[in-house]
Symmetry: C3
């Protein structure tokens, strides 16, 4: 029986993305992959930290393999001339990162902003 924790980790700034990724790793290590669902939501300059040609892909790949969900904000992509193809395949898009964060908290997800 799992406690069913659900965690939103908010990547809002480029410089905080490494801490956000480390958070996801530590959360899985502490609770176990079966006990917590992790969704990383990037918007604003946070999306730059998830780019396929950036410094964080090795860490992202490992976390995606363990089940972490990655999503980026379509509004933030548009204003930075980025497209879905700039990100690893497992990174999804949501129309508005802010809506994702608000709606999921209303559904009971915990929220952490590294």
């Amino acid at each position: 029986m799992t406690p069913g924790y659900r965690a939103l980790i908010h990547a809002s700034e480029y410089d905080r993305v490494p801490v956000a990724l480390s958070n996801a790793e530590n959360l899985f290590n502490e609770l176990g992959e079966e006990a917590v669902e992790i969704r990383m939501v990037a918007y604003a300059d946070g999306v730059l930290g998830f780019c396929a040609d950036g410094p964080n892909t090795a860490s992202m790949d490992r976390l995606a393999d363990r089940g972490v969900q990655f999503v980026v904000c379509a509004n933030s992509l548009r204003s930075r001339n980025l497209v879905k193809e700039n990100f690893p395949d497992y990174v999804g898009t949501v129309p508005a990162g802010i809506a994702e964060l608000v709606i999921r908290q209303a559904e009971g997800w915990s929220y952490v902003r590294p």
Copy 2:
């Protein structure tokens, strides 16, 4: 029938205020003004970003017209020698921004810190 989302957007740093304002705009655009209540809470140097003589008033004016609530922390004003008159008319004050954030989350509001 509205889903009744309620969102606290926390303006804690001066440099993050533009992202906070953009969040409010994107949230309204995505969910519609009738579906979400937005309250922007500024404290610490975040209050500087709401000043009437600052760079963000055009964006704030538009959001206030669409129904966004703006409040600043009275403790933060006092320690910066600011008064209510330094802000646009639609900006309210709360005795303690931190209390506002804690109490409203206990009432079910979602919280985002840009």
Copy 3:
């Protein structure tokens, strides 16, 4: 009868620790010590702000006297070559700060990230 507010204040960056401490003070001043439980959770470089030889100990001492709980992330200590003895006696450790933040929110605690 107390409302039983419970507040997590997240110290994630060294530079934000003074604001986090000021938040705790303002929250107690506004609601009263009997009405709110405050738990300050430091991880990443936030833990540096709680060190016994740092600039924040006078403020921390006062808050600990008033009942604020202080905890630091053991993962963050390990990666910075810090041990429990680098912190004031009243500072506790948790195995993973991120897990603390996720689990307590699931239990109804409010979350603020200064």
